[in-house]
Symmetry: C2
Subunit: 690 residues, 2 copies
């Protein structure tokens, strides 16, 4: 499955900026590109595919697309609020509504009536309704004479001002998106849905058939889908823009479009920034992921219930670990970086006669320099902000931030973000003390490894205990598992938080200076990178032309390409599989885990159309965050849903390739066939696309 | 199970010295101690237990004890050459004699007749026959005016000379052992057995019942045993000293003795050396182990046969990972290091008036300084020398070393070690190309992470390919899987090896300068540490008295203590379990993996004595390497075999504790009961102790 942002956020990669970096543009070729809806490659589409999208086509697809604020994509597929996404995008929600008695991840779920639909405890869905270019106003706030720190502050302030004005004027969620590495700023306005309920989820065994072994492989046989419904005022929301459904079988070379929210790409990175990825960031991230993977596996060995508690986290970690492994392997291939290096050399040669040539070279050098600072900060990545401790930390930061004017606050504490913040902070999603203690102990141990056991902060935190005992004691004594206690602390404001003797609040207070110091250093690095990348982008655009797409920013993009197989090791891989093939795949693996189809499938075998197309591949340019993106045909009809990229596509964060790299989708026909023939959800199947 | 040295060596921790460090003494208290057979705590035993071992008792136990050169312990248990050890000590041998068709690890093995016993492809067993103090001669070779480099060379040369003289005079394997951190040098002479055959192994499911989950836990229910037989001249060896067998049930507070080969302890480490363990070595080793664990798990996901191929390595890695985790947790507990720190402060205070006080303080400071050098070298640990590549590396090094006089060579290439070296080099043990390619690719990737992708050595090694493709190509093209090809290369001498175009030989030739550079730097650090620890030891002995035991050195030691339960979380843990309890344990875990007893046990349930003692705990001071050690009673009779320590004992590498820390053994009675009632090996059972 694709790496989803929600995985990063849920795993508590607090200082996630270090892992995602900033962005800058590059030119496209072939079907490459994650295009802004406000700047589609119309000429290329017309020339190559004879396709000229109308404004209505574009607008309808945009409004039918859904962003999962937790990370991931989806689409409206009915007039009464049905949202389709991947099982693995919704699995954290399914996990949160599960209990020891009702494990909906393992068993699946189907609401027989509206009344049976289960509310997600803290899910926010976004529908993009408008895009506005605010580059001039943002740029005007920063004077070239400013220090990086002042420039970052000024930029943040004007961005907060614009967002707030927009929120007040429209009532819509308003986010400024930094594009082309800081050369462009767009204001995106979203309609928010916060009452979201679970309608249908298949069993994990078929949603993730083949498990970690088959993940990122192809051919595949996964029903990686989940149906949710958005509500307004306690009723199913009435949706004007939703996708029609088209069950027709795929055809070879059929052109399809993917409308979704790719997370972060690094295609505009300089060679030095790529080397930082290769030599520091990815090896570090992999060490961290493997550490968590083993920790969660070990936790799960304690019993069936512990295994269930750790399972969803474990899926996410394994998924990221496998994806990053592929990315690093690509970067360690000398040919890949050599291609980047030679392109960069050509860009630099091309600008040699420009009056600002020195300035451009300095910008490249500045990026190189900043990678060294990133390297120094790397161990701060991914720390601590996990689960219940994250709640304590948010409360402590909020206490201090709320005393400032909104525009001066850390971004997530501004008034315009308050609703989203509180939804997370006061979520009723279950947090398990045993798992929380295990995670917290590991984070304390990591802090010791990072700043040393003799550091006064560590001595102060440990209070004479080892990490395990310290974490166990704090988890046992904290009141924060109780949502009401969180609300009361938050309501009490800065004074209440400063006075609290809750052990996790005390711990977060002690950590706060280090957290703020690191965060401010990282934001400074980012600001300086943004400034440098503006020049890098200029030079790149001057060399490669203007019709480019910006690096992905977890905002709506359009990708496209034909449904097409590929060759691997001399074998031709067919562009789609069938539902019948899933049974054959099970048998080829002796029906052992993770190749055991659920009982529902075994029982329905005779009823299922063996030839119904199940999963298919196309060349569209996608990455993590695109999970759940609708795949539509030329008529804008739903024909499938993205759920993965194959292993050859894993370099896509920094390098698109269509020789073997493919996006993997569930076909529309399989979704309806499964609902009707396996899950007895005839009515739900009929309502799709209506 | 205990961490065994064989695990370290088999995982290719080439520069293992970095992981084991040097040693120095400390005083003992209570039942603490891994005593030299030449210096037993006779007064303490007499005073505390009223036990006065005769010289015959000591000599008989020494000669009945067996060292597994691959890492681990065992004992002679019959006059016709039977050797008893742990299943997990012999599991690499069982793995090596297994095939896709006959998976003796999973299915177990029983030779019906002598003719059915299967030769181990490369196992060497050692029986210690004498100990001689050669400290004066070694010390005389080093002048205080020498540089560290010269001192190390001079010391190595005289040690090689002594070993060689001894080998020539006696025909016995002759190893000089560095004790008390370099204050004492003893010459150990061993009779070697190199024709070793497998007689009996139970199924892994009962040898390692409860798997990774139960590992290092107690109560336990494991038949972690394996019976081998040593041969001489093609016949079962006639053994004069073997242990009598005593099936009597254990009694509470019964005094028992453990005779075995603990690997390496760090009890004499200075506080700075402990901090290096805590802050650098153990975190690094854990990252490496987790990396290998995930790699092997992923490899095993490809299919049943791949799982089998990776399984034994995986057991070893998981075992080490769990043990190191426990060790690090102990070190991160402020109380543990505070105890060490305050002891060190008292030692330093006690010597303040000595004329050599400054020299002693400088020795402590030198150790601190050397930890910084170790830190710089840490990334060289554990590299590359795995499987088939290790063979190529050995051949390349041998080519160069053989051109020198024996005493000047790297230790493993000296004439006195030649037989052991060739046994490993020309082993017919299976090496699987798919697994070897996976491991080698990972080692190349680690090299890139370590010295950087732009390093000329990396560029040269990769030959334009990524690590995966590079490794796959080299593994596909090498001839070294063929033992005959290795023999021919070795026979061709330095010229043949220099001229070889075998891709792994070429790779090892390219790596050789780096390998030699790092190794020499490490040996220099070790020499300087030895010199410093001689002074540290002197000060410690002066403060704590003279009747101490030296840190463990994978040589024969005697430990002891009563059979005794303990309290945990308010619960009293009984000192032994029964065979009947194993069935209850299975049922408590719903009979799911890894708590599924093998079919042989299920079938024999009614025949097995439910009350027969199965596993038991005692307070004896053991660590990794002690696995397989015989446990004997006051009469020197075999009553059990060590196979594990509980989780509370995992600090034993640096801190013995008997409050909860326990050594875990299989009881003699269970071994005979299982052979008779479950495995139909009546005759074999009868021959034990005879």
């Amino acid at each position: 499955m694709r790496i989803d942002l929600r995985r990063w956020s849920r795993m508590g990669l607090a200082l996630v900026a270090l892992l995602v970096g900033t962005t800058s543009p590059r030119a496209s070729s072939a079907d490459e590109g994650m295009w802004l809806f406000s700047n589609l490659p119309r000429a290329y589409l017309a020339r190559t595919y004879g396709f000229e999208p109308t404004d209505e086509w574009v607008q309808h697809l945009m409004l039918s697309s859904v962003r999962f604020n937790s990370g991931g994509s989806g689409s409206f597929v009915s007039s009464d609020g049905l949202v389709l996404t991947n099982h693995h995008v919704a699995s954290d929600t399914i996990f949160k509504i599960s209990t020891e008695e009702n494990d909906y991840l393992e068993e699946g779920f189907l609401a027989k009536t509206l009344a049976d639909e289960i509310p997600a405890p803290d899910l926010e869905l976004n529908q993009l309704v408008s895009i506005e270019d605010v580059t001039d106003r943002v740029m005007a706030s920063v004077a070239s004479s400013m220090t990086a720190d002042d420039a970052a502050k000024a930029r943040n302030a004007v961005m907060a001002e614009i967002e707030n004005e927009s929120l007040e004027a429209t009532g819509l969620r308003s986010d400024i998106v930094t594009l082309y590495g800081g050369a462009k700023y767009h204001l995106y306005r979203y309609k928010k849905y916060v009452d979201v309920r679970v309608v249908f989820a298949p069993e994990a065994a078929i949603a993730f058939f083949g498990g970690d072994a088959d993940n990122f492989e192809y051919p595949r046989y996964c029903l990686d889908i989940c149906l949710l419904r958005v509500y307004e005022n306690g009723k199913p929301a009435k949706i004007d823009h939703f996708l029609s459904w088209n069950d027709s079988p795929p055809t070879e070379e059929q052109l399809v479009f993917v409308s979704g929210h790719p997370g972060r790409t690094q295609r505009g990175f300089t060679v030095d920034a790529m080397k930082y990825l290769r030599d520091t960031r990815l090896p570090f991230a992999l060490d961290l992921l493997r550490r968590r993977e083993i920790m969660l596996q070990q936790f799960g060995l304690q019993g069936e219930e512990q295994k269930r508690r750790a399972q969803d986290d474990l899926f996410g970690v394994q998924n990221s670990r496998k994806a990053y492994t592929g990315m690093l392997q690509g970067l360690q291939d000398p040919a890949v970086l050599e291609a980047k290096r030679s392109r960069e050399a050509r860009i630099l040669a091309s600008i040699a006669d420009r009056p600002d040539a020195e300035e451009i070279r300095e910008a490249f050098a500045a990026v190189a320099e900043l990678q060294l600072r990133r390297k120094e900060l790397i161990r701060a990545v991914g720390g601590f902000r996990t689960g219940i401790y994250g709640i304590a930390e948010t409360l402590v930061l909020m206490g201090a931030e709320d005393a400032k004017p909104s525009a001066d606050r850390l971004r997530e504490f501004r008034d315009s973000n308050r609703e989203s913040l509180e939804q997370e902070l006061f979520s009723t999603a279950p947090l398990y003390p045993d798992l929380e203690a295990t995670k917290l102990a590991d984070e304390i141990a990591r802090l010791i490894e990072w700043i040393g056991a003799d550091d006064p902060l560590v001595v102060d935190l440990l209070e004479g205990l080892g990490p395990q005992n310290r974490a166990a004691k704090a988890i046992a004594e904290t009141k924060l598992f109780d949502v009401q206690a969180r609300r009361e602390l938050a309501a009490g404001g800065p004074d209440a938080i400063a006075a609290s003797d809750d052990p996790l609040i005390v711990m977060a207070r002690k950590m706060q200076p280090l957290y703020r110091k690191i965060r401010s250093e990282i934001e400074q690095v980012e600001e300086l990178e943004r400034q440098a990348y503006v020049k890098v982008s200029e030079a790149t655009v001057a060399f490669e032309g203007t019709s480019t797409y910006p690096d992905a920013t977890f905002t709506l993009r359009l990708a496209f390409g034909p449904i097409r197989g590929y060759e691997e090791g001399g074998t031709k891989i067919a562009p789609w599989t069938t539902m019948g093939d899933a049974f054959a795949h099970q048998e080829n693996h002796g029906s052992r885990e993770p190749w055991q189809l659920p009982q529902s499938w075994i029982a329905a075998r005779d009823r299922i159309g063996a030839d119904v197309p199940f999963n298919f591949v196309c060349t569209a340019d996608i990455i993590g965050g695109n999970s759940g993106s609708p795949v539509v045909n030329r008529d804008g009809e739903f024909v499938g849903i993205i759920f993965d990229g194959n292993i050859q596509s894993l370099t896509a964060d920094y390098l698109y390739t269509e020789t073997q790299g493919r996006a993997v989708s569930v076909h529309a026909a399989a979704i309806r066939e499964a609902l009707r023939k396996i899950y007895g959800a005839e009515e739900l199947a009929d309502s799709l696309g209506r």
